[in-house]
């Protein structure tokens, strides 16, 4: 177990600060001096391949995006819990307690994998739900095609 000085986090702050400086410098200072600024209403409409846009783009979205992010967040949290355990797994193996740890790790993974299996079975993982056509529908389809 090593002791840390918090100074090791200094580069993180410096890098973020540099990003902000760069952004502000390039857009707010240098760019402002150099670039032209001649807004016209046409220029400020959203680009829709030349057509005039109808309505705002902020409309309701498909719930599938939500389901995906939902499954993700659960696995994300699982990862966050498993990282420290994985990091000390070798130590436990070295002192001969690996079996228990392996068991608990496997249990943890399997419980969450069963969640994945559930979602898979219920079709939450399908982006486009496939609809099986019934035989009647198939017949009709064939008739239409035959005509």
């Amino acid at each position: 177990m090593s002791s840390t000085n918090l100074d090791v986090f200094m580069p993180v702050i410096i890098l973020i600060a540099l990003a902000i400086i760069m952004f502000v410098g390039a857009i707010g200072v240098v760019g402002k001096l150099l670039r032209p600024h001649k807004p016209t209403p046409l220029k400020e409409t959203p680009y829709e391949c030349g057509e005039a846009p109808v309505g705002s783009a902020w409309s309701n979205f498909n719930v599938r995006f939500y389901v995906v992010s939902l499954i993700f967040i659960i696995f994300d949290v699982e990862g966050a819990l498993m990282f420290p355990v994985a990091a000390v797994f070798k130590d436990f193996v070295a002192i001969g307690a690996g079996g228990v740890v392996l068991g608990s790790l496997l249990l943890f993974i399997l419980i969450l994998a069963s969640g994945l299996v559930y979602c898979w079975k219920k079709g939450d993982l399908d982006w486009v739900k496939s609809f099986q056509l019934s035989e009647d529908q198939l017949k009709k389809l064939n008739e239409v095609e035959a005509r």
Partner: protein, 101 residues
């Protein structure tokens, strides 16, 4: 000088902000944001006490589980909100006052 008190105050400020969001807002998702703030306040308190009062790791574990629970809460809460929206086309909190219909 940064002491325990500064952290307690910050955490209290976070908590109060979450409280204000929950009480003042009528939008359920905004209220969920407030709940996240409050959970963070609690976790921050745990970690601060771990640092300043007793240095065993339990506070960190507690904060970790708070994060876990916050994630689960957000997932389920938003699912309910979305379902509610599908049913009533609204996410106004006062629309959720009825048990039936």
């Amino acid at each position: 000088m940064v002491t325990l008190g500064s952290y307690l105050f910050l955490s209290f400020a976070l908590f109060v902000a979450g409280l204000a969001v929950i009480i003042a807002r009528k939008n359920i998702i905004a209220m969920l944001l407030g709940i996240e703030l409050m959970l963070n306040a609690a976790a921050l308190n745990f970690v601060a006490y771990t640092r300043f009062v007793n240095s065993n790791i339990d506070g960190h574990i507690m904060a970790l589980f708070i994060i876990v629970i916050a994630a689960a809460e957000a997932a389920v809460g938003l699912a309910i909100v979305i379902r509610f929206f599908q049913l009533r086309e609204s996410i106004h909190i006062d629309d959720a006052a009825q048990l039936q219909n």
